[in-house]
Structure formats: C-alpha cells, structure tokens
C-alpha cells in the first residue's frame, strides 16, 4: 500500500513536487482544516450563532477567556449580540466557503464551456463571446457583484431578498469571475486545437463537442485547476468584501466579512477581538489557498522548469 503510494508520488510529477514543498504542504493542511472546520461547524461549534433565542444580551462583548474579565464559556470572546465568537467564525467560514465554492462552480462551468467553444469554433461565435467578455471586463468584479446585488434588491421583495441572498451572491460573484475561465480556456484551446491529435479526430469525423470535452478538456485541466484555486480565493475575498460593505449576507447570518464590519465599530473602544479573530481566519484561509494556487501554477507550467 505504502509502496504503491510512493511509486505513485515518484511517477506523478505534481505529487512529487508537492511533497518536496513544505510551504505547499502547510498551506494544504491549513486549507483542509478550514474547509473541514467549516463543513463540520454544526457539530464543532459550541453554540448555534443563528439561533437568536439562545443569545443572551448580557453575554455581549465578553473578551477572550484568557483575559481578566473573560468567560470560560467563550474561548475567544463574544460579539455585540452575545454570540460566541468562535462558533460565529466557524459558521461564518462555512458561509464564506459555501458562497465561494458555489460561485466558482457557476463561473467555471459557464467560463469553460464558453471558452472551449470560442477557442474551438473561432470565427463569429468567438468574436461575439470575446466582445461580451470585454464588456464584462470593463465592469470590475466587485462592481458587477454590487450591481447584481443592487438589481436583486430592486427586483425582489424585501423579505425574499434576505432569503435569496446566497443565490444572489453566488450569481453576482460567479458572473464577475467567468471571464477569467473563458479567456484562459479559449487561449489554451486555441493552442490545442491546432495540435495534430485534434486534427486526427477531426479527420475521423468526430463530433466537435466530443472532441472538445473528451480530447481537449483533459489536456487543458492544468490551467483550469490553477484558475479554480486562485479564483476560489478571489471569490471568498469578494464575498467578504461585499458583506463588509453591508450588501452581502444578512446580519442574522454573519459571514466573516460581516463579523469584521461589526468588529470595526468596536475596535476603537478597545473590543479588539471581534475584528482580529475573523480577520485572522479570513487571511489565513486566503493565504493558504493562494499558496496552493502559486504552487500549482509553478508545478503545472512546463516552461518554468
């Protein structure tokens, strides 16, 4: 078993490089811990921060347990509503990652399909799609996200808006990221398309979609994987930013960005923990994802070796 695994890591370039790179290993462990903590938060967290009934306003703004006026129940303190900060962070991370993953799934499916078709067919379809991509690019990610959010606010009735916020956020962030996939996939498809293995499929009379999805797609997974990773970080960052600006998730379901926004209000009066811990969590998570993205980019780029 171990032998098989060792052989695999010797033959597999990526695995080999990964196990030689302590920084990447640490980043992967942190990322797995973050994702694991987020997924398991309902079981890990001491309290349910969404359950308003369980909150006690008397517990609000308690500092971390190790400081003088700390409370052993709340290891890293509480926020202004009396929520246990650790539980709130776990749930917040879950929400941030959920939105992040949904958004990049949406963006990658849309972007990869459009990119493959534009790169493969070229011509008019390509020209039109790339013009649309240009328009999308002229509206930066955060602007698109804000705009979609604003439109949703205008179109949806008040109560509905809060319920659908995760969907709105996903669409908003996903829409602003699909262009990254589309452009890269288009460029790499364009290179692959002119390779002889694709021509041999064309000569056989294979259906273009079969060529695209079963022959070209596996060959361009490298760059797609890199963008998936990098854009996951961007998506999490965007979600946090939108929540920070107060247009993201509703306040009764705080994500990391919301917690930081609440924390900023109390930072000047000495309640530092509300802003510090969620920020640290967010930064740690994004750094670890970005380290992995960098590692993949270097490892998968044949020209860098």
């Amino acid at each position: 078993m171990i032998n098989a695994w060792l052989r695999w890591s010797r033959e597999n370039e990526l695995a080999y490089l990964f196990f030689r790179n302590p920084v990447a290993i640490v980043a992967a462990i942190i990322a797995i811990l973050c994702i694991g903590g987020a997924v398991l938060s309902p079981w890990l967290a001491a309290t349910d921060p969404y359950d308003i009934a369980s909150l006690d306003i008397m517990d609000s703004l308690i500092p971390p347990a190790w400081s003088e006026s700390g409370d052993a129940r709340f290891f890293i303190g509480t926020d202004d509503q009396g929520r246990d900060l650790l539980s709130a962070i776990l749930y917040g991370t879950r929400l941030s990652l959920l939105v992040g993953f949904l958004a990049i799934t949406f963006a990658s499916v849309l972007g990869v399909t459009v990119g493959l078709m534009a790169g493969y067919f070229g011509g008019r379809f390509d020209a039109i799609m790339m013009r649309i991509a240009d328009i999308q690019l002229s509206l930066p990610a955060i602007l698109t996200a804000l705009l979609v959010d604003g439109i949703a606010k205008g179109l949806l009735p008040r109560g509905q808006h809060d319920n659908l916020m995760i969907v709105v956020l996903t669409v908003a962030i996903g829409l602003s990221l699909w262009v990254n996939f589309a452009r890269t996939v288009r460029a790499t498809t364009f290179v692959e398309r002119n390779k002889e293995y694709v021509q041999s499929c064309e000569i056989m009379g294979m259906h273009p979609f079969r060529i695209m999805f079963t022959h070209i797609l596996p060959n361009i997974m490298g760059p797609i994987l890199v963008i998936l990773t990098v854009d996951l970080a961007v998506a999490v960052l965007l979600e946090a930013t939108l929540s920070f600006l107060g247009v993201g998730v509703p306040a009764n379901q705080p994500s990391l960005g919301t917690l930081i926004r609440i924390g900023t209000e109390y930072m000047f009066s000495g309640e530092w923990w509300i802003v510090i811990f969620p920020s640290a969590m967010l930064i740690l998570m994004i750094i670890s994802i970005n380290v992995l993205g960098d590692f993949l980019r270097d490892a998968l780029n044949p020209r860098m070796r």
Binding site: R131, D134, I135, L137, S138, L139, P140, A141, I142, L143, L146, L147, D149, G150, I151, K153, G154, L155, A233, L237, A240, T241, F244, L245, G246, V247, G257, I260, T264, M267, F268, V275, S279, L282, I283, I286, I287, N290, V291, D294, R303, M304
Partner: protein
C-alpha cells in the same frame, strides 16, 4: 494605423452601447421610476400624466435612443434619493476618486515595477522576502488592510487622519487634495490601502514576464555578445515585457476604480465609490446607472490608450498598421 484606431473606436462604441443598454434596463425595469419620483399620495391619473410627459409610454426603442442621447449630452437625470441632478452629484465626487486612484497607481508602479524586475533577476533573502510579501499582499482583503492602517497610524500612533479628505483647495469646480499639507496627509492611508493590492499584482506580473523574456533566444544571443547586464536587463529584456505589462496595468486601473469603492467606504472618502454604495443601499437607480456608464467609459478610454501605447512600444504592431 488609422484603420486600426478606427476599428478599435468602433469596438469601443459597441461596448458603450451595450453598457448603456444595461444601464437603461436598470433604469427602466428595476422598480417603477414613477413610484420612486412621486409620493404615495399622488393619484393614478397624475402618475399617468407624469408617465406620459416623461415619455415612459413611448416604444422602448425610442426611450432607449432618448436615454443614450441624453447620456451623450451629460443629461443624467435626477437622483431618487436627494432629488439633485445626478451630474452635479457625480461631478462633486469625481475629483476625490480620481486623485485617490492616481496616488495608488503611482505607488503601485513606482514600487511594483522595480521590485518585479529585482525578484526576477536575483535570488536570495530580499527576493524571497518580497515574494512572500506579495503573496500576503494579494491575500489580505483591502478593507482589512485599511482597518489595520487606521488602527495603527490613526488610533494608536495618531499620526494621520482616519477619514475624509482633509482640507481641499478649489480649482474651478475641481476640489484638490494636492495643494495642502492636510490634504496630502489624508491621502496617505487610503492611497496605500488601495495601492497595496495593485502593487503586488504589478510586481508579480513584471516578475513573471521578465522570467519569460529572459529565456528567449534573443536574450541568450545578446548575452553571448557580451552586452552589459544593465542594458541587457533594462533595454533588451524589460522593454519586451512592456506590451503585456501595459495591458494589465490598463486593466488594473479599472481594478483601482472598483476597489476605491471599498477604500472610500473604509475611510469615508467622499468619492464616487461612496456615492455608488449609498445609491445601492437606497436603490437609487439613476445614480447607479450613470456610475455604471461612466466606469465603462473610463475603461474604454483606458483600453484605447493602451492600444495606442502598443504602437509606441512594438514596431511589429506599428509597421503592420502602416501597411494596412
């Protein structure tokens, strides 16, 4: 060259029309413009009269044409929220955003380009430290950087103001920060906050492009001819990275405008971003749609400038253009 510019211009106009269509749909379909303009007590007949007077019963194409022609004459309508002309609101906020953006762009280029070249050429402690710094730089959200800068330099050390523009001087309608000490002080924290992310992007890009160029045959040939390293790296190598670098910097300008929304929110900087944020909060559609069109316009202009820069940089583009 003329043909190239004309073609680009046509594409730009297409982009602008598309964006204005989005803005128009926003304006026309998100919420009822009449309901926003008049109070609850206005009768249905009166609402219909206003509707007719404003041309909201005309065919949509007519309305769209009117919308575009109004936009092109800087007739932006009135804000639902403040009842002020949108053009006045934007104009009063524009200088603050542009000055902030300019400062952060300068910071990102002046630091990012040399650091990028350095890390591409040298290995060692400083180089690694810079690389780690960029990784942290792209990973910390802009607003967190802002908050911590405020906490450190504003609250703890008390050196710099934490919100607003400070004292400004009016040059005609343009309120500038650049002519007072207080204005400069107020610019530092938001400028750095906004600049850090762009700086790391610039540095990483310059580094990656330099590494690519250094592997090319013409750099190897120049090395084999004994060209001195200074000229080799700057005149031969860096020059060849300029086309992609200029492209990305063009895109970054857009990023700066977008992230200025966040920075302005953190520092209560009275710019267009803050205005946009307020208008989203209150669903102030006219302001939103005008902001959208203006941002797209900036982008289109930046892209045109970038295309023209290609002519200055790359003889292959220049000479191909002249043969057309």
């Amino acid at each position: 060259m003329l043909a190239f510019v004309l073609r680009r211009l046509a594409q730009s106009i297409f982009v602008m029309l598309a964006v204005s269509l989005i803005a128009f749909s926003l304006f026309r379909f998100v919420g009822d413009p009449i309901a926003q303009m008049v109070g609850q007590e206005t009768s249905i007949e009166d609402q219909e009269n206003i509707r007719e007077r404003l041309g909201l019963n005309d065919p949509l194409t007519t309305q769209y044409v009117r919308f575009v022609s109004n936009l092109s004459q800087a007739e932006f309508g009135y804000s639902y929220r403040t009842r002020q002309p949108v053009s006045e609101m934007i104009l009063s906020r524009l200088p603050a955003t542009l000055e902030l953006g300019a400062i952060s762009l300068v910071i990102s280029l002046i630091v990012g380009i040399p650091a990028g070249i350095y890390t591409a050429l040298k290995r060692g402690f400083l180089s690694n430290a810079l690389l780690v710094a960029t990784l942290v730089g792209i990973s910390i959200p802009t607003f967190v950087i802002g908050i911590f800068l405020i906490y450190l330099f504003g609250v703890s050390l008390g050196w710099l103001p934490t919100f607003g523009r400070g004292q400004t001087v009016a040059l005609g309608w343009w309120q500038t920060n650049f002519l007072t000490v207080s204005g400069w002080k107020a610019l530092i924290l938001p400028g750095v906050t906004l600049g850090v992310y762009q700086l790391t992007l610039t540095m990483r890009l310059v580094r990656a492009e330099m590494q690519e160029v250094l592997k090319t045959d013409y750099i190897k040939f120049a090395t084999a001819r004994g060209i001195n390293y200074r000229s080799l790296y700057l005149n031969h190598a860096f020059r060849n990275t300029l086309v992609p670098v200029v492209t990305i910097i063009g895109l970054q300008l857009g990023g700066i405008i977008a992230f200025s929304i966040v920075t302005e929110s953190v520092f209560q900087w009275p710019g267009m971003g803050l205005l946009f944020l307020e208008s989203i909060r209150y669903v102030d559609i006219p302001v939103m749609s005008v902001y959208l069109v203006l941002i797209a316009l900036m982008f289109v202009v930046i892209n045109l400038v970038v295309d023209l820069l290609y002519f200055a940089i790359d003889p292959r583009v220049r000479l191909r253009g002249s043969h057309d």
